[in-house]
Structure formats: structure tokens, C-alpha cells
Amino acid sequence: MSWIDQLLQSPPGWSNFLTFMALGSMMLTITLGFVTYAILAERKIMGAMQLRHGPNQVGGRFGLLQTVADILKLLLKEDIRPAHADRALFIIAPILTYVPAFLVIAVLPFTEAFHFADIGIGLLYYIAISGLSTIGIVTAGWASNNKYALMGGMRAAAQMISYEIPLVMSVVGIILFTGSLNLIDIVNAQESLAFIFLQPIAFLIFFIAGTAELNRTPFDLPEAESELVAGYHVEYSGFRFAFFMLSEYVYLFAISALITILFLGGWHDPIPYLELDGPGLGAIWFSLKFIGVVFLFIWVRVSFPRLRADQLMEFGWKVLLPVALANIFVSAVIKEFFF
């Protein structure tokens, strides 16, 4: 029984409360720190790929404080609420989107030592909780009382339901090989060989479906700027808008971490049998792989145009899902005969 389980089962008291608060805040800080620099990285990388500089004014040559300044600006901005919006839901919606984004981080193991909740069904938990954000997005779209927002919300809902299925299906192969839904077990199963080599198709499906879950190009239909202006958050300003934006990047953080854990072997060294699995090295390996995945996401965003709504649905149901199902079947056969 780990220390955190002990903590959970201890009697309530102010000390425990404070411990929990401190732990939570720590995680929040780490995540927000990541988000801050992920946004900066995205802008810098996109800038480099698009022949421009990206932020370079606030915080020195690399614009290191640009995102901080942006978030501060959003904090100070006037909070505008449309007159005909549904007041209660308009306020709840950003929270509904934001909270699950942070909840999912609880189960992600970053290194052998550094992880929070070690629950048996970590993978399933991630998928279930991330689905909750959809409700927030739909609510935001509905509550804004704006047609563009509503359409964005609808698209988000349709898209997230459609792509959640291949997302889940694609990892079944990994679950078959590991025999566990626990993320730590999954990482440990990749000590010798990362699952990306065993399950390349699953990786592709997961990456594509993950991009769709993140609402990023080429699947950024819910907030398609050229069509729906900004989609579901078109009426939001100030810090409520920041909630949506932050949760988007927290999900980027989470899904990149999840891909690292599921397919790239987490904190294990990338070259097997190299025996470079030191306690400190784990964090470095994880970070490198993780940064690679984030870079891949940004790269995809810069390169592709957007899919159309019906094509998106068709792709999800007619291509990804059958391929994912076939992958499960093949994995089962392989597992049966070779392992």
C-alpha cells in the first residue's frame, strides 16, 4: 500500500486537508507550467515553420514570459456575458471543461516514483473522464445562445463520441499484451520493446483519434475559425475563455503523456538492453519522448488543412473503427501464438 493510499484512508483533519491541497496545487503548478511553455513552444515552432519569429518581445529574445503575460491579460479582461445567454450554464461550462482536464492527470505515471493515483483501471479512467469535457463544451455552445457556438458544440460532441470509440479500441491490443489496465503495468511491460513496434497500427489510430479528441488541426472543426469563427467559445472572453484554452493545452499535455506511456515505453530507455534505466534518467527519457510527441502534434497542426464534418465522421466510423477492430483481432492472434 503506497503512501497515498494510506493518506486517503486516514481520518480527516486539517493536516490531511492541507496535504491534499498542497499536492494538488503542486500538480496544478507543474501542469500550468507545462501549458505555459507548451503554448510558447507551439507558437515558436509554428513560427519557425511559417517563416516568422513567434513571440520575441516579452521575456527576452525567446518570449519566455509571453504566455504568462497573455494569461494575466486574460485575467484582467472584462468578463462579458451575452445578454441572452443562459446565466448558470454559461458560468458552469468552462469549469465543466476544465476540471476533467486536470482530473485525468492524476493517473498518469511520469516516472517510477513520480505518480499520483495508481489505480487498476487507469487507462479506462483517463478515457472516461476526458469524455466529460465534451459535456462542458456542448453546454458552452448551448448556453452562449449563439448559433456559431451551438454548431461548434454540436460538432464537438459528435466528433468526440465518434473518435472516442476508435481511441478505446486501439488500445485494446496493448491491454491484451499487458493483461492490465494499469498504466504502470503497461509501462513495465515495455521494458524490452516499446509497444509502438508491436502495435504500429494502434499507435497511428491512437494518434489520429487523439488529435481529434484534442480538437486540433486537421480535426479542429468545433472551433474552425474560418467557418464557425471560434466555435463553442466564441462568446467567451477573459478568464472564462482562458479556461477553455488552458484545458485544451492540458489535454495536449495529458494525451502526449499517455502516448508516451502507452506506446513509447514511458520512462524506459528508448534503446532496449542498453541498461540506462537510472532513477534520474527515467525522467529524462520520459521528457524526451514526451517532447517528441508534442512536437509531432504541433507539426501536424502546421501542415494540414481541416477535414469537413461529414468526412470526419466517415473517417472515424468507416476507416478508423474497422481498422481498430481488425487490429484487436490480429493482436489476439499474435498474442495467442507468439507470446
Binding site: 448558470a88 483501471i121 479512467y125 469524455g131
Partner: protein, 171 residues
Amino acid sequence: MNGEVLVFLILASLAVIGGLLMLNLKKVVHMLLSLVLTFLSIAGLFIMLSAEFVAVVQVLIYSGAVTIMMIFGIMLTRHQDEQRVQKNRVRTWVVLIGILVFFYTMYEAITRFVSVEQASELHIENTKQIGMALYAKYVIPFELTSVLLLVALIGAIVLAKREEEEEVKQE
């Protein structure tokens, strides 16, 4: 009183509040969201019972899929935003008696329930145990259920198709 009881109380009352709000709110979307609250609280209760798998499935299926489907249904179709049901005295009484009977039955059942042994290791390999039970002990009911669902799925497609054809005819 330890944390468990406190959490239980919070979750239970949230679930009840969600249900009450669901019955009393006027806008359909509000009702739906209060339903989500109930679903989530129940998922929390499942976790307290060391039924992690069931809890997560509860979130995934009910809060995720079912709610979204309902939202779609509500938003895409014509409906009166506010509905008022006329109060019926007799009905109120019948409902009240029903509730009392239900409460009493549950009370009796719970007080007479004697747990044979306290399963202490429930949360360990929870999922595995469910899998074992489903695919070994209860495989026939499981298969029957899946057949039933399949039939329902096909039935839904057939019904939708027929209506479509009728619509074409009408036009």
C-alpha cells in the same frame, strides 16, 4: 467518523440533489446536467465500494455517451422549452405512498442484510475478477445479453430505415 463517511455523505446528498433538481428544473438542458451530477455522484459511490471498473464504466457510458445522445436529441429536435405538468392530487398521493413503500422495503432489506464476510481485497484486480466472472461463471447470460443488444441495434436500424422510406413516399 472518518473520511470515507464524509465522502459518502457528500456523494449521496449530491446524487439526491441531482435527482431533485432533475425533477424540478424547467429547462431540459438544465435537467440533463443535473442528471449528470447524479451519475457522477453514483460513480463516486462505486469507487467507495472498490468497484472502480463499474464506476469508470458508469462515467463513460452514462455521463459520456448517454448524456451526449440525449443532448443531441434535445437540441436537434423541436420541443417546448418549458413544460408544466398539471398537478393531480390523486397522483401525488399514489406517488407518495409508492415512495414510502419503497423506502420501507429498502430499509428492511438493508437491516436484515447480514454480510457473511467482509471482502477486504475487493479493489485488487477488480477488473480481472469481473472479467473472470463474466466469461466463466456467467457466460451464458452475458452472451444472451449481447444477442439481445444486437437485436435491438438491428431493430433500431430497421425502424429508422422504414420511417425514412415513408418520408420519401410522402414527399
